[in-house]
Subunit: 303 residues, 2 copies
C-alpha cells in the first residue's frame, strides 16, 4: 500500500577514506524513498531549487516514485558537505547551505492525505506534525529526528512524537531523548512519549526494535568494502516502513515477527547503500539482490 | 570433556556507576573457569599469594574446579583497581600491583597434559606458548590477548598464535593486530596467522565469529540493569569453550552451528556476569537459568 515520505531532497559533497565526491544527489527523503520503492508505491513531499538536475528527477521517476509533492522553487537546493573519519563511524560537517530548504513548508497533495503510510524524515518537528495532522487515517505513521531537535526543540518534538506509531533513532539520540543510559529503560521512557514501536539504529552493530511484548535485535551485515555511509540510516528507514507497507501492517496488527523482518529488510537496505557513494547503488540494485541478502541474514544469524 | 584454563587469579577493586567494591575475587582465569564450569569439568593453572582467602578457594571448589594447578607462593595476589565510565564502555586503571603474578610461570600438572581442551587467558604470549606446547594432543586450543602484547610483543604473540585454533579478542584489538579497519579483511588476516576460528567480542553490541565458511553474528543481550562489566569478556570465553568442550567438538569437527551456539552461550555467560559485582552472580547462577537465557536469545533474534 502507498507510502508518503517527507523530508529533504538535496545535494551532498562527501569525503570518505574510499574517495571524494564534490556533488551528488542526497537528502533523507531521497534515500528513504529510493529504498522504500523496492517494496511499495512511494510518493515524496519535498522542495528543490531550480538547480535540481533532470537526471535526478529521472532517477526518482525510474523507481516509480510519485513526484506530485516535489515542489520546485527559485533558488538552490539544500547542500551539505562532510568528511568521514577513518572508520567511517563519525563525520564532520564542512558545509550546510539550507538554501530553498530554509523555508520548506511541506505541501501535501490532496490525494496523498488518504494514503495509509507516512514516514517523516528528519526535519523540524513542527513541520512533521503539520503533515501528520493532515493524514489522521494513516495505518502507520512515524519518523526520524536528531540531537539538534532533541536538545533545542524538545517541547515541540515531544508534542510531535505523541502522534507517531514508530520512531527511528540511534543509540546516542535515544539516550539523549530519554536521559537514561540503560537502553531498556531508555526505550520504555521513549515508548511512553507516543511511538509504541521504537527502532534504535546502531550503525555497523545492527539495530534493535522495542515493542509492546519485548524486543528484537539483529547484528549488522559485515560488508566486504564500505565506500560511503551517507544515507544508510535513511535507507534503513525506507526498507523498514516499505516492508511493513507492502504487508499492509497497521499499528494494531503489527506482530513481532513482522516488525523483526522489517528491521532485517531495513538492515539489508542500509548495507547496500554503503557499498557505493550516495545513491549510486540504487541505480543497479534489484529486488532479487535484496531477497538474497535477506537470506544471508538468516544464515549468519542461525544457531 | 575436561578443560584446562590458564591465567590470572586476582583481587580487584572496582568503581562503577552502580557502586564501589574495594576488594573482590577476580582475574581472567577465575572468570573463565567459573563460567566454563557450568558446561564441563574445568581445571585451572594459576598462582596466588598467601593472602588468597579460603572462601575464594571454597567458591572455586564448589563449582568442582580442579585446583591442583593453583600454585601458592609467599607474597600477595595480583591486585587491579579501576573506575568505569558512566556508560561502562570504558574504564581507567587506578592500580596494577602484579605482586606474585610478576613471576608467574605456569606449571601444568602431569595429568592435565593429556586433557583435550585448553583456554589461555590473557598473559604474556611466551608463557601461553609454553603451556600450549605441553598439550600437543589437545582437540581445541585457544585464548585471549590484549593491545599491550599486540603492540609491544608482536613477534612473540605471532609465534604463539600459530599454535592456536581459536582467538577471542575485541574489535579494536582485531583492527590493531591486523592493521585493517574493515572487519572482514581484518578477520581474514588474523585467521591466516593461525587461529582458524576468530571470535570478535563487541561488548554490549554482541559478538561475531569468523570461520572457514563465513561468519556468525549475535547481538548483545539487553540487561535490565548492569552493575559491573568486569570479567564479562572472560565469562564469554568460558561459556564459548565450555560449551564446545561439553559437545566434544574438535577443530576438524567444528560445524558452523556448534560455533554459533558456543557464541550464544558465551554471550549468555557474559550477560549474567554483568548483573552483579565481580563473580557474585556465579554464587547463585544455575544451569536452568543459563538455558532459559539461551532461549531468550532465540526469541529476540527470531525473524
Amino acid at each position: 500500500m502507498s507510502l508518503v515520505v517527507v523530508g529533504s531532497v538535496a545535494y551532498d559533497g562527501v569525503t570518505t577514506p574510499a574517495g571524494k565526491i564534490d556533488r551528488m544527489l542526497g537528502g533523507a527523503c531521497t534515500y528513504i524513498a529510493l529504498s522504500a520503492s523496492y517494496f511499495t508505491k512511494t510518493d515524496i513531499v519535498a522542495v528543490v531549487g531550480d538547480d535540481f538536475a533532470q537526471e535526478d528527477t529521472d532517477l526518482l521517476a525510474s523507481r516509480n516514485i510519485g513526484l506530485e509533492g516535489l515542489e520546485r522553487v527559485p533558488g538552490k537546493c539544500f547542500f551539505w558537505a562532510g568528511v568521514y573519519s577513518e572508520d567511517m563511524n563519525d563525520r564532520e560537517t564542512i558545509t550546510t547551505d539550507l538554501n530553498v530548504f530554509a523555508n520548506f513548508s511541506p505541501k501535501l497533495p490532496e490525494a496523498y492525505k488518504t494514503q495509509p503510510y507516512l514516514m517523516l524524515g528528519n526535519i523540524q518537528p513542527a513541520l512533521q506534525k503539520v503533515v501528520r495532522d493532515q493524514m489522521p487515517g494513516a495505518l502507520l505513521t512515524g519518523g526520524d529526528t536528531m540531537n539538534f531537535w532533541i536538545n533545542d526543540f524538545r517541547a515541540e518534538l515531544l508534542e510531535t512524537l505523541k502522534g507517531w506509531n514508530f520512531l527511528l533513532i540511534n543509540d546516542s539520540e535515544a539516550r539523549l531523548l530519554s536521559g537514561e543510559s540503560n537502553l531498556k529503560k531508555a526505550a520504555a521512557k521513549i515508548r511512553a512519549l507516543g511511538p509504541k514501536i521504537l527502532v534504535i539504529k546502531r550503525g555497523e552493530y545492527g539495530a534493535t526494535l522495542f515493542h509492546e511484548n519485548g524486543y528484537f535485535a539483529v547484528p549488522g551485515f559485515i560488508l566486504d568494502s564500505l565506500k560511503d555511509p551517507t544515507g544508510a540510516g535513511d535507507c534503513f528507514a525506507g526498507g523498514f516502513i516499505g516492508y511493513l507497507a507492502s504487508r499492509g501492517v497497521s499499528m494494531d496488527s503489527a506482530a513481532p515477527l513482522d516488525l523483526g523482518r522489517a528491521v532485517v529488510y531495513g538492515s539489508v537496505m542500509g548495507s547496500f547503500c554503503c557499498e557505493e557513494f550516495g545513491v549510486d547503488r540504487f541505480r543497479t540494485l534489484t529486488r532479487d539482490e535484496i531477497e538474497a541478502r535477506f537470506e544471508e541474514f538468516r544464515v549468519f544469524t542461525a544457531f
